[in-house]
Symmetry: C2
Subunit: 408 residues, 2 copies
């Protein structure tokens, strides 16, 4: 919101055509996809004209859209969701030109948190509504979230266990307040809807392409759909989670790029087929001076997947404790009982949390046990960077002692 | 040097006896070890008395000592090496009480670099002497070191390709200058000798315990020496490096703790024996505002181990480039030709370098290829934390393209 959003634009259509040798048609959309006939109908959004195109192979990359509240007043000027660059630009213009004193953010996930922080950075009051009454509820366990909430309180950002049931507007049509399921009326000059995104599957469904249980397009590990000539990739598909093989909708840019590459190579006839081995979900955020990161499964996810799992938590330090600048770092592991295998991990702290999540990923992928982490894994040590016994190892040692069958 | 060194003291002998139930004799040393007789001779350093003790099993944990220059004047007041807390305390006292304007640091490794920074933090001029004419020569490759040298120059710290050949003293006996192998005389009021440490093996050798090729004690994976009743651990032993199995002397605190635990369990009769699986060397430093980290093998080490290896280097950004605070981050990989296997990696930059080294370790241990890193590994993505394509993945993608046989 603070930088120039234009700088995020990577290539213009012309540059893409020139550098990649592909034809690019912007302001066009596919209105019908008929794989059995190898044909699609394209509409020009400018000329409103339609024409047919033949294809041998088709890649669905229709992405995802922001979820909507589905409440009265959602279309009012001053209500924003954030999916594309144009959404960010529109919000920025609103904040730059309207007398905005208070913003209500619906949804306390990563995006809602970042938006609340961006508002505070502009000295605008922000309130987060989340039915859980807390932020990052999908990724960070209850006992870990306190430092983030404390940092938010210090900046005057409140989290309320409510949700928007209606948006009220001024005579001018602009947003003036939200109503909540608690019967509250909260005055505000902007509403940001940050309740996640959903895959855009209409075209796929119309073409007979099957969706998976998550509601996103189901593909095999070559990114092929159930329709022989159709591949799919990016935010519109579901992907297997490495640790348990379950399909998840995990629409993040790095996964989009990876699945796009696999789909493109295979649709272009790669032999042997290129395979996508699945994701080990990992996310990180830095907001209000606190980092929070998560990799692998939460305790609930692990149990839902049938693991006999338990969680342990430790508090240690980001650097050697006595080094100036060292900050408390909270680590939580989700561990399979019996085997001691690491299934997931969460980190929260003022520094050193986010990048430490990266090392959890190969550990989780490989089925590494907490005993191996405590006793065999090398982690950098240097007082201004990390303690001799890293918090990641402290947590593993505690899990060895307290998770059934995880020790020796 | 700036904090209170006393705070590093973890347990007093009395606390240790009480909490661990072991007898502790400080101010005593073993002057003779006779495994065949199950006997050792102990000397009291206070009373100068000696007595025999019987033992069934013995653990050598004699550690390492700072290497000495072996030049005239090395014993003068004002010449320091840094091994124990008392060394740090003595240097601190000297700086607090003597009129120190310039300090010469011999050795441009991690320790020398940190010492030079500590001097600058006290507004004392510092000069590093290192025969390579650069710092971190064992861990960071030539083309990667520029950002660190630039940061040092900006703080007025110079690196000279020289070494001390003599230390000159005042009439009072205090150090006044060093002479170098270039015939230079460099005036200074303190000299810090930071040329590494060497294992203290005299007792082991006298007892018939074999050393390995590194000059440290050779042990098996149960930390047992060639003498049936003698184990060894910590900074006095050599350990196998996972990636090639070669023995290395890698005297860092985390390895000391791990090997001590294995030795203790096995000497106490653990069945099955506890095994130490070896190290994947990883180090990190933060000095003059620059982080430098290294994991696995350098290119020279890889080639010396018989790998057909090549190095590639990229420069990217610590966060999304346009995010305020984003800094250049340099990544260098050492990759096996043909297989594309990652053998080692180095990172240098103003932020985000040190903790990223941790994820290289499990990759290197597992024999992960640059193709797998580029296409299958999850790394956290969030603009204020890391780019959508992490520098670690950018480097892997480049290695896929430019290392023979590493691509598809």
């Amino acid at each position: 919101i603070e930088g120039g959003v234009e700088a995020l634009e990577v290539l213009t259509p012309e540059e893409f055509e020139k550098s990649r040798g592909a034809t690019v048609r912007v302001q066009h959309r596919v209105v019908a996809l008929e794989p059995s006939k190898g044909r699609l109908v394209v509409e020009s959004l400018i000329h409103r004209s339609r024409h047919d195109e033949a294809f041998d192979r088709f890649i669905l990359a229709t992405g995802a859209r922001a979820r909507r509240l589905g409440v009265d007043g959602e279309a009012a000027p001053g209500v924003f969701s954030l999916r594309g660059l144009e959404d960010a630009a529109a919000l920025k213009t609103w904040l730059d030109t309207e007398p905005v004193r208070h913003v209500v953010v619906e949804g306390g996930g990563f995006e809602g948190l970042e938006m609340a922080e961006a508002m505070r950075d502009r000295a605008i009051r922000a309130t987060i509504l989340d039915t859980r009454g807390r932020v990052l509820g999908l990724d960070i366990a209850d006992p870990m979230i306190a430092p983030m909430h404390e940092a938010m309180r210090a900046r005057g950002v409140h989290v309320r266990a409510e949700q928007v049931t209606a948006i009220e507007t001024e005579a001018t049509g602009r947003v003036r307040a939200v109503r909540t399921n608690q019967g509250e009326l909260i005055g505000c000059q902007a509403v940001i809807v940050a309740i996640g995104i959903e895959p855009r599957t209409a075209l796929a469904e119309s073409a007979g392409v099957h969706l998976g249980e998550t509601g996103a397009i189901a593909v095999d590990d070559a990114m092929r759909t159930n329709v022989r000539t159709v591949w799919a990739c990016g935010d519109v598909i579901e992907v297997p989670r490495v640790v348990d093989g379950n399909a998840v909708h995990w629409p993040l840019a790095p996964i989009g790029r990876r699945t796009a590459r696999v789909a493109a190579r295979n649709a272009a006839g790669a032999r042997p087929a290129d395979r996508f081995t699945g994701v080990t979900p990992s996310v990180a955020v830095r907001a209000f001076g606190i980092e929070a990161a998560h990799a692998g499964l939460s305790l609930d996810e692990a149990r839902a997947s049938g693991f006999d799992a338990e969680a342990i938590m430790v508090q240690h330090w980001s650097r050697v404790k006595m080094v100036p600048g060292s900050k408390p770092l909270h680590v939580r592991y989700v561990v399979e009982q019996g085997s001691g295998r690491l299934l997931g991990g969460e980190l929260v702290g003022a520094e050193g949390a986010a990048l430490r999540a990266n090392v959890l990923v190969p550990w989780i992928r490989a089925g590494t046990t907490v005993r191996e982490i405590a006793e065999e894994m090398d982690l950098v040590y240097n007082p201004p960077i990390a303690p001799a016994t890293d918090p990641l190892r402290i947590a593993a040692a505690k899990a060895m002692r307290s998770v059934k069958g995880a020790g020796r």
